[in-house]
């Protein structure tokens, strides 16, 4: 569920644009005004604002934001202002350009988005980068990572709830077999994760637990330093329990553990209108402290204010 708070009476688009333009003019920037407007508009409203702003002032709002803002605050405002599919295209492109084997963004976007959302992201990718997402992922990744990531970003999974339990049993057995042999990059293992519907995978993992006693991810922890295993575990988590995956990504970022420092910005910007409520609940459950308090403790200034606005904390 979304945590975005849109006011009951929203000013007209023209007014919003005028206020934003005022926020940029003169000495310095009125960040508070930017947060109070953009931080409280949904995707449709933001799209309209961008359109009207460009028509009125002859400049893309994003360019103006890029000129005026800096650092973390700039990044979250820019990411937030983009259309969800443009945002995903931007993030995946960035991930391919600076890809390392610890990078989780490609997997995260490919697996947590619905089949339709992933398709829209691929479409937006064509429009913006004049190449397909899969060609860039294939080009910039290698080895087992490529073997997993290209099918993941190319998937267009069946979106229904239909599940074949017999198949789930046999594929659970297959997964267990491969994992026991430490054949983590096995063709069939990857085939199952990259092509089956999310409902089918969920059924398969339940069978796995019934039959073999453990959650599959427990069996994928043989080597804590193995980055491919980490991506496999992430894939599974993103496919069947994304809110747990997002909670962990935020927790590690806040605690400065792991390598994904951009996770806080990315997760909040991409999930605020999607699943942020569930993620907040997970965070509270796992850490015994509400997410907004953790963010307030760990971040400062306008960046902090924007994050808190997006996760629905009412302004003091």
């Amino acid at each position: 569920m979304s945590t975005l708070c849109v006011p009951a009476h929203v000013p007209s688009v023209a007014e919003d644009c005028e206020q934003l333009h005022k926020a940029f003019t003169g000495w310095g920037t009125n960040e508070g005004l930017i947060i109070s407007i953009l931080g409280h508009r949904n995707a449709a409203q933001r799209k309209l604002i961008r359109q009207v702003y460009a028509e009125t002032y002859g400049e893309d709002l994003l360019k103006a934001l890029d000129k005026e803002l800096t650092n973390d605050f700039e990044r979250i405002v820019l990411l937030w202002t983009l259309d969800p599919s443009e945002r995903d295209a931007y993030l995946t492109n960035e991930a391919t350009k600076r890809w390392t084997s610890s990078n989780k963004v490609l997997m995260e976007i490919a697996c947590t988005r619905s089949p339709k959302e992933l398709l829209l992201a691929r479409e937006a990718y064509h429009a913006r980068f004049k190449r397909s997402l899969e060609e860039d992922v294939a080009y910039h990744t290698h080895g087992d990572f490529r073997k997993l990531l290209v099918p993941l970003v190319s998937s267009y999974r069946y979106g229904g709830d239909d599940v074949n339990l017999t198949l789930a049993k046999s594929e659970a057995k297959l997964l267990h077999e491969k994992i026991s042999k430490k054949a983590y990059n096995d063709d069939d293992l990857i085939r199952i994760l990259a092509t089956r519907s999310k409902a089918q995978i969920n059924a398969t993992l339940n069978q796995y637990k019934n039959e073999f006693g453990n959650d599959i991810n427990k069996n994928l922890k043989a080597d804590p330093k193995d980055e491919f295993l980490a991506i496999l575990r992430g894939t599974i988590k993103c496919l069947v329990c994304p809110e747990k995956y997002f909670e962990k990504a935020i927790r590690l970022a806040i605690n400065r553990q792991g390598t994904d420092e951009g996770a806080l910005t990315r997760v909040v910007a991409t999930q605020a209108e999607v699943d942020m409520k569930i993620i907040k609940d997970e965070y509270q459950k796992r850490n015994s402290v509400p997410l907004d308090r953790a963010i307030a403790k760990d971040t400062t200034g306008d960046y902090e204010k924007m994050l808190l606005a997006l996760i629905g904390q009412e302004e003091a």
Partner: protein, 314 residues
């Protein structure tokens, strides 16, 4: 009509593609028992002399006749279908009847990105699975990766091509092909598959052009040793030549039913797309016009329907 002409007409009515309904009605329908017997005794292909002294239908031919009578119906149904449903059903059929790798490659590579996406959507609706999960599950061996990736592709279709990249990828392919003795392991070369499976069609056409400049040969000719890679390149870079080649192979005498089905499939699926160019290619390559060839080998309603589609001028 002279008796021998009548025998010839009825023989033809039962041979080739489709059946000649008019002749069967007007000639066969008026034949007396002796005339029919003359026919049975005279055509070794359709009838066998039974040991108990009568001429009986060869079962294989009766089974084939079922296909021939239904050929027109099949073409009509396929033609009337929404393109997405048509392609989804062709993909599904290709998987469980074979599998027919060539049809999977043909559909995945000759449709536009949006058309392939539509087919994938229809596949969800019709079969409650994604096409890639069925292809991955149903295909084994080294060609699986290629085929799954081909049906999953959503290629960029804009005009922008990076010539430098195309050139270096052509160079790479040239080296890879030279290095793989007899092309046996080429399909397992991840880089080769990456290029063919992810790059845009315009980019690949540029790669094809650079390859010719570098090696002096055509890329698809040099891929003779790996049928799947060769077909992939042909479908992506020169589909009309590919289609005219398959049409020719399908209309030869004594080909099996699976090959014969290609005629309906290609003419129905290309009639609104590039039939004009296919006709030109066909004529250029085989020295006879496609309509004339169809006249020659096909009969009745099926023939007339194909000719109508082929004449549409797209």
């Amino acid at each position: 009509m002279a008796a021998s002409d009548e025998l010839g007409a009825i023989t033809k009515a039962f041979s080739g593609f489709g059946v000649d309904e008019k002749s069967l009605i007007s000639i066969l329908g008026k034949w007396h028992p002796e005339q029919r017997q003359t026919f049975r005794k005279g055509t070794r292909d359709f009838f066998i002399q039974d040991e108990r002294k009568f001429e009986r239908w060869d079962d294989r031919h009766v089974i084939q006749l079922q296909h021939e009578f239904l050929r027109f119906k099949h073409a009509i149904v396929l033609w009337t279908m929404h393109q997405w449903e048509r392609d989804a059903r062709l993909l599904k059929e290709a998987l469980y009847k074979g599998p027919q790798h060539n049809v999977l490659i043909e559909v995945a590579c000759t449709r536009s990105s949006e058309e392939l996406l539509g087919a994938r959507r229809a596949y969800h609706s019709l079969f409650d699975h994604s096409v890639e999960e069925d292809v991955a599950f149903g295909i084994h061996g080294p060609e699986r990766k290629l085929l799954v990736a081909l049906v999953s592709s959503y290629r960029y279709e804009g005009p922008k091509v990076n010539e430098e990249t195309a050139k270096s990828e052509a160079k790479f392919l040239s080296g890879a092909i030279k290095g793989a003795a007899g092309n046996k392991n080429l399909i397992e070369n991840d880089e080769v598959v990456r290029i063919l499976v992810t790059r845009s069609k315009l980019h690949l056409i540029s790669v094809y052009k650079h390859y010719k400049e570098i090696s002096g040969n055509n890329l698809d000719e040099d891929l003779e040793g790996d049928l799947y890679l060769q077909e992939t390149v042909q479908c992506l870079c020169k589909p009309q030549a590919y289609f005219s080649k398959v049409l020719d192979a399908s209309m030869r005498p004594n080909v099996d039913e699976i090959k014969k089905e290609a005629v309906t499939r290609i003419i129905v699926t290309r009639a609104d797309v590039d039939m004009k160019q296919i006709k030109e290619e066909y004529n250029h390559k085989y020295g006879v016009s496609l309509p004339n060839k169809i006249e020659d080998v096909a009969n009745g309603n099926y023939r007339d329907f194909l000719l109508t589609l082929v004449a549409r001028g797209y």
